[in-house]
């Protein structure tokens, strides 16, 4: 039976038809994790929760047996980026400072999936505290791209992307701050949804940049993303930045044509240095959208180039504050050599944080210091406002924007290591939408040959919507997937 690369809706049907039980499905994916993951494998999982998963699956089977209206996610295995707090299950944020940390509560997203009786298989690798675009800043080593294990899966949600791409799990929770869902989804040839800021609760997601962080999902199809979006979205009393806005029936509303849909192509997103083959795939995808009935309009977003600069200030500033709680007092790593209070702070943080986290803490603290705050943080927030206004203007003319998710295909592991600016370049096409809090997808749209080798690697199409415009981006992505099969491709060596 071919299960590894089936979509959520297909697996749900098999569960409902009693072709398979959730316990069997869970064991099946756990076996695949054992086979393909681990430190010598993809290194996508940091923690595998076999025992808990089987217990959850057993419970899901009971519900499937008794309730014909059980949720589509009942009994479906998933993985969660190790940034989501999971009660009783180790949660590390890929940092040594939380190496042995076991939370006392579940993140709202986890709670929602628990309610649906989805089955958590484990926690996936990420860049330390989500600081990075390759998983190479993880304290537990990088994850590998299943399309070529010498290459990065992207990041920060690289573990989630690699796990889904290799068929180790049907879908995974991930988070975005500035490309951390779209970029790895693109590099691993799968689908990623970065929600509108405030659509999905951040409660229990270890904070990186509070004003940007958007928990979302990585899955095999846009339809799967829409299914998970319906469940994960919504106002949360524990997160004041979530919206009470109504949640559409994203999946049921999906359509297979794009008649009357206006799609903008921002010329600034075809940047110098972009791989020509990637650019070609994007133009091919745009042609497909036109074929589906969409009206394609060239638009201009001249402030795009400032996105990464704003990000480079706001992000470390908020990080420096959000990481202050990791002080060795209440939880996490405390230095054994500490002799007094100052030592506890200095040495615990020195030993616990990796280079990138330290770099961002220092930069951020500087940007917030008296005398610099106005020049950096405040100014960045003003530019951010301008970016939002510019998007607002363009969305008066179009329903969505399309462009590349990433200007290049996945590069080799190790290349980014000594280049702290790597992420800012890799994510430059993602960051403006993040800074404006907009919803966006990355979906596979073909392959391109890597410029630094012979590998043929996936290319991702980015679809950006206006605030709360999830339905539009899902519709465009889904219509595209009704006439293409890029999302059905999977890497060699992971078949059954």
């Amino acid at each position: 039976m071919e299960l590894a690369f089936l979509e959520i809706s297909e697996l749900a049907e098999k569960l409902r038809n009693k072709e398979i039980s959730s316990v069997e499905l869970t064991k099946y994916f756990l076996k695949r994790i054992k086979e393909y993951d681990g430190a010598s494998g993809l290194n996508a999982f940091l923690t595998v929760t076999e025992e808990e998963a089987l217990a959850q699956a057993l419970e899901a089977d009971k519900i499937l047996a008794s309730d014909p209206h059980a949720s589509v996610l009942t009994g479906i295995p998933y993985a969660a980026k190790d940034l989501f707090s999971t009660k009783g299950i180790r949660t590390t944020a890929s940092s040594k400072i939380l190496d042995k940390f076991v939370p006392v509560f579940d993140a709202t997203a986890i709670e929602k999936l628990n309610t649906e009786k989805a089955v958590l298989l484990g926690k996936t690798n990420l860049d330390e505290f989500a600081h990075g675009s390759s998983t190479e800043t993880s304290a537990y080593g990088p994850s590998k791209n299943p399309w070529d294990v010498t290459r990065i899966p992207g990041g920060s949600s690289g573990g989630s992307a690699a796990a889904v791409a290799a068929g180790l799990v049907p879908f995974a929770l991930a988070t975005e701050t500035g490309g951390s869902i779209r970029q790895p989804a693109s590099l691993c040839g799968i689908c990623g949804w970065k929600p509108t800021y405030g659509r999905v609760s951040r409660y229990g997601v270890i904070a990186m940049t509070s004003s940007n962080d958007s928990p979302g999902t990585i899955a095999r199809s846009v339809k799967d993303l829409a299914i998970t979006a319906e469940i994960l979205s919504g106002h949360d009393l524990k997160d004041s930045t979530t919206s009470v806005k109504e949640i559409p029936n994203y999946a049921a509303n999906l359509r297979s044509d794009l008649k009357g849909v206006k799609i903008g192509v921002p010329k600034e997103y075809f940047i110098p240095g972009m791989q020509p083959e990637v650019e070609a795939r994007i133009h091919e995808a745009i042609a497909k959208l036109k074929e589906l009935g969409a009206e394609i309009i060239e638009v201009s977003l001249p402030l795009t180039k400032y996105g990464s600069l704003v990000y480079a200030i706001v992000t470390p500033a908020e990080i420096s504050s959000n990481l202050a709680r990791f002080d060795g007092i209440r939880y996490g790593h405390r230095s054994k050599d500490a002799k007094d209070l100052l030592d506890i702070y200095d040495q615990s943080r020195e030993e616990g944080f990796g280079d990138e986290a330290k770099r961002r803490i220092l930069t951020g603290a500087y940007a917030l210091s008296a005398g610099y705050y106005d020049a950096y943080y405040l100014k960045a927030q003003k530019v951010r406002r301008l970016l939002v206004n510019e998007f607002d203007e363009v969305f008066k003319k179009v329903d969505a924007l399309v462009c590349a998710s990433v200007p290049n295909v996945a590069q080799k592991i190790g290349n980014a290591k000594d280049n702290p600016l790597f992420g800012y370049i890799a994510d430059q096409l993602n960051i403006p939408a993040s800074m404006a809090g907009l919803p966006a997808l990355s979906i596979p749209c073909g392959f391109a040959k890597a410029e630094d080798g012979d590998a043929i690697m996936p290319v991702g199409l980015q679809i950006i919507g206006q605030q709360w415009g999830e339905q539009n981006v899902f519709n465009i992505g889904h219509a595209y997937q009704t006439i293409t099969d890029w999302h059905k491709k999977y890497p060699k060596g992971y078949g059954e």
């Binding site: 944020a93 006392v104 229990g204 904070a207 504050s321 007092i329 210091s369």
Partner: protein
């Protein structure tokens, strides 16, 4: 502007920073209980107030309401748009590594509080009042090589009130604090108890040289003050210290001092030069706080009578002496009780008595509240509402005194009984046999026998010795077992001796 310095002497310049803990059910940003009386460490805590990774703050609406109310009571302008900021520093009792406070957009600013200093009204301007969360408490077990942290207090709501440096003496500071405490209690915003730490004071003190107009170029902050008495003592101590230094041509160092209550002096804690850079920035987890005009005006309309207005009314309506008024108003619960007794009195007096009678009874009520009742309450360490004496019975007893049914001495006995066991005064008077004798025949016969038995005293009186009259009254009262109506006894005795 601060008052002009016209004097030839050293003039203290004092500004106050006061933290008032707001009486909400739950903490400022989570639903852990806000209970200042909790004694078991780390019981009122949750994942949010201990800053577990991934947790987020959610503003407590009741804290906003109480903060707004307090701002209004201090005549502040309430911000239609306010926000919360993160104030960063490391300390074990600060779980997030930052405190959520308000930096440049406090919920209330530009207010004032008028206080009464020796009969003069003095206005102290309020610069700002903002909401913030409290920290936990570090505990250092004696003789052990480690410290512990109790997070019960972490995240409880505070209102920080900052005055302009308008205060010029320790006494003014104390009066201001008392008045602020009264206001906080009257509007139900908190207990404002310095001993319990639900109100905390940090005065900023400096002294102007004779004739100096501008503000001094230094100030000294004093911490660790936990009573009104210490507040006054600490300020006085500092002022003296500054004057001493200034007169010797020195300028006091800009430092933070701590009040050492055993030594009755301030001790340097840390130098301001090493002050933190708090790296304030707006908390992205909390949306901007928009307070509608309607919300604010509804609260303004709902403000109860504040102490100043109450004092004025007590003077106008009841003509009570200033000191009695002050003492009553300083004890909110006693004032409430007193007013309930007064309304009981009013209920039956309207029918058949004059205004003077009413005022006399009200005065009597105030005296009883402030003397016997207060003494009993203090001894029992309870509030009026917790006592067994109902307002109705209290009024009833006063009525019996006014009607001369019992003597004041006897009434004290009855009141003690009422306080101890409850019950109606009528029954107690009867049980104790304390009904006053106003029957003239009985009194006459008692006086006759006293006159017979005390010939010498009678002669002395007739020879002009006034004090013999008092002696004879005493003897008559003794004969009447203390129950004789003193007015009638006096009257009849006088007549018989003529």
């Amino acid at each position: 502007m601060t008052e002009k310095n016209n004097t030839n002497s050293y003039t203290p310049v004092i500004g106050l920073e006061i933290h008032v803990q707001l009486k909400t059910k739950s903490k400022m940003f989570c639903d852990s209980p806000n209970n200042p009386d909790e004694t078991v460490p780390n019981t009122n805590i949750c994942e949010v107030c201990t800053a577990q990774p991934g947790t987020l703050p959610v503003v407590n609406k009741e804290a906003i309401r109480l903060g707004t109310l307090l701002g209004l009571a201090l005549n502040c302008k309430i911000a239609s748009s306010s926000k919360f900021d993160r104030k960063s520093y490391f300390y074990p009792d600060l779980p997030k590594g930052y405190q959520i406070s308000q930096y440049d957009k406090p919920i209330a600013e530009h207010g004032y509080l008028d206080i009464n200093v020796d009969g003069e009204v003095k206005r102290v301007r309020i610069r700002r009042a903002h909401l913030e969360e409290d920290a936990g408490k570090n505990v250092h077990p004696e003789g052990l090589g480690y410290s512990l942290v109790d997070y019960n207090r972490a995240g409880t709501p505070l209102m920080e009130i900052v005055t302009e440096p308008d205060i010029t003496s320790a006494k003014e500071a104390r009066i201001f604090l008392e008045e602020l405490r009264n206001i906080v209690r009257y509007i139900g915003a908190g207990s404002a108890d310095m001993e319990k730490g639900t109100m905390r004071l940090e005065p900023n003190i400096s002294v102007r040289k004779p004739g100096q107009q501008e503000l001094p170029n230094y100030k000294v902050e004093v911490k660790n003050i936990n009573s009104f008495k210490f507040a006054e003592a600490a300020i006085e101590y500092e002022v003296e210290r500054h004057i001493q230094m200034l007169s010797e041509g020195q300028t006091p160092k800009q430092v933070t001092m701590g009040w050492n209550e055993k030594a009755s002096q301030t001790v340097e804690q840390r130098s301001k030069e090493e002050a933190n850079d708090y790296r304030y920035f707006p908390d992205p987890d909390l949306p901007v706080l928009n307070l509608s005009d309607e919300f604010v005006s509804n609260l303004k309309a709902a403000l109860p009578e504040l102490p100043a207005a109450k004092r004025l009314r007590f003077k106008e309506e009841y003509a009570l002496p200033d000191e009695d008024i002050q003492n009553l108003v300083n004890w909110k619960e006693l004032t409430e009780y007193f007013e309930e007794v007064v309304s009981e009195i009013q209920a039956w007096i309207q029918a058949d008595r004059s205004k003077e009678d009413l005022l006399k009874l009200v005065k009597m009520a105030a005296n009883w509240c402030l003397q016997d009742f207060s003494a009993l309450l203090n001894a029992a360490k309870i509030n009026p509402s917790e006592s067994r004496v109902t307002q109705e019975n209290f009024a009833e007893l006063l009525k019996h005194i006014a009607d001369a049914k019992i003597s004041v001495t006897a009434a004290k006995q009855v009141f003690a009984q009422m306080f101890e066991h409850g019950g109606e005064p009528d029954h107690i008077i009867e049980d104790l046999g304390l009904t006053q004798i106003s029957d003239t025949a009985a009194i006459e016969s008692a006086i006759d026998s006293v006159i017979q038995a005390n010939e010498k005293a009678v002669l002395d009186y007739k020879a002009g010795q006034q004090k013999s009259f008092g002696f004879l009254v005493g003897m008559a009262m003794k004969e009447l077992k203390g129950k004789g109506n003193p007015a009638i006894v006096n009257e009849i005795l006088k007549k018989k001796l003529e």
